[in-house]
C-alpha cells in the first residue's frame, strides 16, 4: 500500500532547545517520534539516539528479510516483535550511553512508532507520546500512555519526570505496548509529542486531519499548540495510507457495481 507523510517539529514558545526527534521513511514505511525527557540532562541526545537506533534496526531487519517464522509461538506477528525488539535495542543503546558518559547520566526519552507492513500496521510505544489512528469519522488512540495523570500526588516532587511511568533508556529493560491491526486506504495516523497532545484535543486533531492535507494539518496543529502557549517542544507526524491510490479505489467503489467487468477487477484489487 502506498504511504505518504508530513512531519513537522517546532521548538515551541518557552523552551530554548528542541528535545524532540523524529524519523520518517516512506521506503521503510516506518515513522518514529521520540521526546527527550525535559529537565534531564541530554534529553535531546537520548531522543536522537532512539530514532537512529530504531531506524538502523528496522532497516537491518527488512534487508535481512527472514528471521521471521521462528517467532510463531509468541502472541505477536513477526513485524510486531521486530518493532518491539527495535525499541529494546534503542533502550539498550541509550542505557549504555547514559552510563558511560557523565554528561548524559540519567537521560531518557519516549518513543512512539508506526510501521506499515502491507495492509496492516504495527504501533508500539513507551512513554506519553500518543499515536492516533483516524479511520473514517473516528479517531482512536492506539498507543498506551505511560504517565501519571496530572495532579496526582506522585508527581509533586518528581515533577521533572513529567510523571512518566516508563521511558526508554532509564532502565536496563523496557516493555513496550504494542497494537497491530488492519489499515485501509484513506486511514491516517498521527504521531506527536505531548507538546501537542497536552494542548490540542483529540477532536481538534481529527478535524484538522480530516479537512486538510497532511502537510496543512500538521502545520495548523503546530500553530494551534503554539497559540495556546506552546510550553513544550511540538512534533507532529501525519501519515496517510493509500494516499495516491485512493482516488482510483474510490472510483471503483462508486462505479464498480455498474460495470460487471470492473467489479471483479475491483474485488481483486481490493483483496
Amino acid at each position: 500500500m502506498h504511504v505518504e507523510h508530513a512531519a513537522l517539529t517546532d521548538m515551541g514558545c518557552k523552551r530554548s532547545r528542541n528535545e524532540d526527534a523524529f524519523f520518517v521513511s516512506d521506503a521503510l514505511k516506518l515513522y518514529v517520534v521520540s521526546d527527550g525527557m525535559g529537565g534531564h540532562k541530554a534529553g535531546d541526545v537520548a531522543s536522537r539516539l532512539v530514532v537512529e537506533c530504531m531506524q538502523e534496526y528496522i532497516h537491518r531487519a527488512t534487508r535481512q528479510g527472514n528471521g521471521q517464522e521462528s517467532r510463531q509461538a509468541s502472541e505477536l506477528s513477526s513485524q510486531a516483535s521486530c518493532l518491539v525488539d527495535a525499541i529494546g535495542h534503542a533502550n539498550r543503546k541509550v542505557w549504555d550511553a547514559a552510563r558511560s558518559l557523565a554528561a548524559c547520566d540519567g537521560m531518557g526519552a519516549t518513543v512512539s512508532a508506526v510501521w506499515i507492513c502491507g495492509d496492516t500496521f504495527v504501533s508500539a510505544n513507551v512513554g506519553d507520546s500518543p499515536v492516533y489512528c483516524i479511520h473514517g469519522q473516528a479517531i482512536e488512540m492506539v498507543s498506551v500512555q505511560h504517565n501519571v495523570p496530572v495532579g496526582s500526588p506522585g508527581q509533586e516532587r518528581a515533577g521533572h519526570t513529567h510523571g512518566l511511568t516508563r521511558a526508554v533508556g532509564v532502565k536496563e529493560y523496557v516493555v513496550a505496548d504494542v497494537c497491530e491491526s488492519q489499515c485501509y486506504p484513506g486511514d491516517r495516523f498521527v504521531l506527536c509529542s505531548d507538546g501537542l497532545s497536552n494542548l490540542v484535543s483529540e477532536g481538534e486533531i481529527l478535524q484538522a486531519v480530516r479537512r486538510l492535507s497532511a502537510g496543512d494539518a500538521s502545520r495548523s496543529l503546530v500553530d494551534l499548540a503554539k497559540a495556546r502557549g506552546g510550553d513544550d517542544n511540538i512534533t507532529v507526524v501525519v501519515v496517510t495510507v493509500g494516499g495516491r491510490g485512493s482516488v482510483t479505489g474510490w472510483m471503483r467503489r462508486v462505479f464498480g457495481p455498474l460495470l460487471p467487468g470492473m467489479k471483479t477487477r475491483a474485488r481483486r484489487g481490493g483483496s
Binding site: T120, V144, G154, R157, D177, C179, E180, S181, S271
Partner: protein, 228 residues
C-alpha cells in the same frame, strides 16, 4: 507488628496491621485488605508482605503505579515512616514503639524479592482471560482472544478455520486495541456480517456482537475482570 495508616488529604481513614509472614493487599476490589474505592486505583493494586528480612511493598502491575516516597517502584523494602502513594491516597508505614526492626533496611534480599516477583505474577490475572470468541453455529468451543491479532479464515494458519464458498484465506481479523477489540475485514468476496450487517472495513466490537462467516456464527464475549 507494623501498622499501615490509610490517609486521604491528611485525614486518617483506617489503620491496618501487617503480620510477619502475612500479607496485606491493597486495591479497589472489595476483598482487598485495604480497600480504596477510587477509579485511579486498580482492583489489585499493590500488596505488603512481611517476609523474613523485613516488610516489602510490591506493585501488582497496577495501571497508575505505586509510589514510595515519590519514586515509582515495583518492589521495595519498607522503612519506618515510609509513605506509599496510590492514586490520591497515602499509606504511612510505621513500626510500633519498641518493636524490633530489621537490622539492614537496604533490601539485601535478592532471593526473596525474586521469589516474590514470581508469586505476584501468578496472582495477577491477565486482562484478556475473559475476552473470547464463542462459536455458536458450525462448530463449537471457545477461543480466548489472547493474541494481538486473531485470524479467522480458510487458511489453516488461521486461529479459527472456517469453510465456505467465497470465504477469504484470511477473512477477517480481530485485533486487540488499547480500548477494546476491533473486527477488520481482510479478504474474500464473501464478507463477514457483524450483527447481520456486512462488514465494510473495521468496527469496534461490543459484548455479544455476533459475526457470521460462511456457515459459522461466532459471538464475541467480553467481561471486564473484577481484578483489573
Amino acid at each position: 507488628m507494623p501498622v499501615v495508616q490509610l490517609q486521604y488529604k491528611d485525614r486518617v481513614i483506617s489503620r491496618h496491621r501487617v503480620e510477619a509472614g502475612g500479607s496485606l493487599t491493597i486495591g479497589r476490589h472489595p476483598e482487598s485488605d485495604v480497600v480504596i474505592d477510587n477509579a485511579a486505583v486498580s482492583g489489585k493494586h499493590a500488596k505488603i508482605d512481611g517476609l523474613e528480612g523485613g516488610y516489602f511493598i510490591t506493585d501488582l502491575k497496577s495501571t497508575n503505579g505505586t509510589f514510595l516516597n515519590s519514586m515509582m517502584i515495583t518492589t521495595s523494602q519498607l522503612k519506618h515512616g515510609d509513605s506509599i502513594v496510590i492514586g490520591r491516597h497515602r499509606l504511612l508505614f510505621g513500626y510500633a514503639k519498641g518493636e524490633a526492626r530489621p537490622e539492614k533496611e537496604s533490601a539485601p534480599l535478592d532471593k526473596t524479592v525474586l521469589m516474590d516477583a514470581g508469586r505476584h505474577r501468578a496472582s495477577v490475572p491477565s486482562a484478556d482471560v475473559n475476552a473470547y470468541l464463542s462459536v455458536l453455529k458450525g462448530g463449537n468451543g471457545e477461543i480466548p482472544l489472547t493474541k494481538k491479532v486473531t485470524k479467522v479464515g480458510k487458511d489453516p494458519v488461521c486461529d479459527i478455520v472456517v469453510a465456505g464458498f467465497g470465504v477469504g484465506k484470511v477473512s477477517f481479523t480481530i485485533s486487540k486495541m488499547p480500548k477494546g477489540f476491533q473486527v477488520n475485514y481482510i479478504s474474500g468476496f464473501k464478507r463477514p456480517r457483524v450483527n447481520g450487517e456486512p462488514l465494510k472495513t473495521s468496527l469496534k466490537l461490543r459484548e455479544f456482537d455476533t459475526v457470521d462467516i460462511g456457515a459459522t456464527r461466532i459471538q464475541f464475549v467480553y467481561r471486564e475482570s473484577l481484578f483489573m
